[in-house]
Amino acid sequence: MAGIEGSMAHLSDSLFTTAIAIYSVAMVGFVAEYSFGRRGRIAATVPTAPAPVRELVGAGGPPLEGFASAPAGADADVAVADDSPPATGSGGRRDMADRIGWWSFAITIVGLLFHIASIAVRAIAVDAVPWSNMYEFASVAGLVGVIAFVALLWRVPQIRHLGGFILLPVILLMFLAGTVLYSKAQPLVPALQSYWLAIHVTLVSIAEGALMTSAVLTVLFLVRTHYETVTKTPGRPLGRLATFGEKLPAAATLDKVAYRVVAFSFPLYTVAIICGAIWAEAAWGRYWGWDPKETWAFIVWVIYAAYLHARATAGWKGRTAAWVNLAGFGAIMFNFLVVNIVISGLHSYAGLS
């Protein structure tokens, strides 16, 4: 079918491509910060809580927000006190990395603006919410992933140097969207003309974009946990994986941030499923029909519920819960790629032919 031709759709595509390019530059910057910065710590850019009173902070407390700046082998708990400004004496390389990190962040924001513009222009071109096919959905989910990361930086600034890990999957997703999954701007078929759909897909893409961030943090958590285990065993050499974990934030921090993102996304995902059911009731005559897409939405929901439970269950906390989180994200990807492309259902909105 002929799509909506014209300058609007073209403009949207160019903005999209530009956003990918800008993100790629930012990613290289973040990777540089990660690689050359001693710790990647950036306490200097965002001041911590006002006038912290720390006279009697218990050294035995869990290193919740702490950042393990201690040399390999030291107990991670020491990190608690590490809220001081970055050591100035550690040389120019450190400052350089910090500056690169800051610039990468700024570049990410520019990419974000292009990305938002691309989606907005597309919305004008199709005169509807622009996430009704896989290309548009992937673009929005990627956008939310970046926004989730930027929002997290607000609260947990010490994860800035992990930007590359967030941008990498976003760039891959967008690349996939712009090539394999691409479809031209088209108006909606009648069944998709519903504001419930608009809410449904908006919430799903927000939730899934955020869950992608959570999955990335969870992978880093697993790497860091491995590092912390290795360094606790005297004499055990650091493997390649463990070396990688050296510059990551404390495992407890990563675990917590990953959890917080799920705690934010899970209710959204729940509301999204409910909106989807309301829409299905109006469009297809039943609120639930175990269509493959619905079935996988259910599977994803159940896995993340299991994740929340696992985090509250002795013996399942930590590593096991992390794998449950990744299983949930695996199910999201399965639902997005395999179900859309391979298994057809009523939801075959993919726009591929």
Partner: protein, 527 residues
């Protein structure tokens, strides 16, 4: 818990096993495993064809996979969500949920009225703690600290020897309340879904535009009828309404051929003796009646023909053809014109309807668009015995086992094709038809409310933070004189959402600010 403590040692071994089984079933670990099982069990339902969704595909899948297909069928893999093992997981989870909720509700009710716990001896052993000095006397500072904490904290003041005061403060009880509401609403939702399925029904039928094609809501009126168990047993009487007529059906397309709207204008009576009302049904906007909803779920074309029969009579017929290709609405169907039984003078016509025809090059006609533009009706004409033997026949295909072909033709509107034995067929035109579905589910409205309660509970459960803070306010003496007050603060996050450290520090700042700066108390308080 309380029951187990009552009769220690008197329990019979059998009872003990039951009790242990119940404890295991209602543990969080079991819930986790059951959740996993539920997720895994749903997977084949999305990968293998499912009979309730697509029975033709299921049958052909089984046929083409031999013993493997039959084994899967035996295991219920082609109706996963109706299978016994899926129901078993669902039921176990249900029971587990009830079993874990009852004690939690009891505990939470008790905790809601209990006073916050006394301060531990060493506040500096807590995850967060700090000490500062205040210029007020203990009672005075305790009062301002309580005011600082405000109403969101539940605070209890206790006295220790030597004039030491402690404050125990807790907040975030509604986290557990929300969590319980979530799980209870989940339970209620499961019940509503199950009850809804038992009492529900779905019927669908094709209604051709024009007079005398309507129907009333009775089982026999439907081309397909999918009842829930109780509806199948006749325990649900379908609401008495009638869709009397499809007055018109309109499909709107963009200039590039994308559909933008489908609309069916119907005349209906909400009850048998009510006057007929007209109403437009569109794709996302069903007709909502008391208890039942009427949907437009599809549409197609019904070609109209005139047939000269071998027996000399003339028939006109309008029959719905089933769309075969959704994007182009290339449709297939059959006309069946019965004559005197046994005379071998029945005429059967199987054919296709191409709304916008195109020649694929080798004389085969296909359709390139769902919009109607010089349509072609392709026909294969047979004479003989239609083989009506009392069994219901598929109206869209022809049983040609006792018929012989007279010929074939592609007709445009107005064209006539002539065959042997005086038979001729004229393509007169076409009218649209709408596929109408009637759905009944008595619980879905309640289910929506229950689902909203789940969301509300979830928001409280995941958003509210459970916190405990203690203050120990100790008067300090210098040289026997009360000089100042030492305030030790310790805090504990009972749930790890949020950043407790930052929260604690913010609270600490406020608590410090509530204190008068530490000037010697001499003369201020007691003489």
């Amino acid at each position: 818990m309380s029951a187990s403590g009552r009769l220690p040692g008197v329990l019979s071994p059998g009872w003990r096993v039951v009790r242990r089984g119940w404890r295991t079933l209602t543990s969080m670990r079991t819930a986790l495993i059951l959740l996993f099982l539920l997720a895994v069990a749903a997977v084949p339902g999305s990968i293998l064809p499912q009979r309730p969704l697509n029975s033709d595909k299921t049958t052909s899948y089984i046929a083409s996979h031999g013993a493997w297909g039959r084994l899967l069928d035996h295991l219920g893999m082609f109706d996963v969500f109706g299978s016994a093992w899926f129901a078993a997981i669902y039921l176990l989870l249900f029971v587990s949920l009830i079993g874990c909720l009852i004690p939690r509700i009891r505990l939470h009710a008790r905790a809601s009225v209990r006073k916050p716990l006394p301060a531990p001896r060493n506040l500096d052993r807590l995850p967060e703690s700090a000490t500062f000095e205040a210029g007020d006397d203990p009672q005075h500072y305790a009062t301002s600290a309580r005011a600082t904490l405000g109403r969101r904290w539940r605070v209890v003041q206790r006295e220790e020897p030597d004039g030491v005061l402690t404050l125990s403060a807790e907040k975030g009880y509604s986290r557990e309340t929300g969590n319980l509401i979530f799980h209870i609403a989940l339970l209620v939702s499961l019940v509503l879904i199950a009850v809804g399925r038992l009492y529900s029904y779905q019927g669908s039928r094709i209604v051709i535009q024009g007079a005398d094609q309507g129907f009333c809501n009775t089982v026999s009126a439907y081309d397909s009828w999918r009842p829930g168990r109780f509806a199948a047993e006749g325990k649900v009487s379908p609401a008495p309404f009638c869709i009397d007529q499809l007055s018109s059906f309109t499909a709107t397309y963009t200039s590039s051929g994308e559909p933008t709207q489908f609309a069916a204008d119907v005349l209906f009576r909400p009850t048998l003796d009510a006057p007929a009302v007209s109403k437009r049904i569109t794709v996302n906007h069903p007709l909502r009646l008391e208890g039942d909803r009427v949907y437009l779920i599809g549409h197609g074309f019904a070609p109209q023909i005139t047939v000269h029969m071998p027996d000399g009579t003339t028939r006109t017929d309008t029959t719905a053809f089933l769309p075969q290709v959704a994007s182009t609405l290339l449709s297939e169907g059959a006309f069946k014109e019965a004559s005197v039984p046994g005379a071998k003078q029945d005429i059967g016509i199987s054919g296709f309807f191409a709304p916008t025809p195109a020649d694929t090059g080798d004389g085969v006609i296909t359709s390139v668009s769902p919009q109607v533009n010089h349509p072609i009706l392709g026909i294969f004409v047979y004479q003989g015995d239609l083989n009506y033997n009392g069994l219901p026949q598929n109206v869209y295909s022809l049983d040609t086992s006792k018929m012989s072909q007279l010929g074939a033709a592609n007709l445009e509107i107005g064209q006539t094709a002539k065959f042997a034995h005086g038979v001729s067929v004229t393509f007169d035109g076409w009218v649209p038809f709408a596929s109408i579905q009637v759905s009944h589910d008595p619980t879905q409205g309640y289910l929506l409310w229950s689902a909203l309660a789940m969301v509300l509970g979830l928001l409280c459960s995941l958003g509210i933070r459970r916190r405990r803070v203690w203050l120990r306010i100790t008067p300090s003496r210098e040289g026997g004189q009360p000089s100042h007050t030492v305030v030790a603060v310790g805090g504990l996050a009972r749930s790890d959402s949020g950043n407790f450290r930052t929260e604690f520090e913010a609270l600490l700042t406020r608590l410090r600010r509530a204190a008068t700066p530490n000037k010697p108390l001499v003369g201020a308080g007691r003489e």
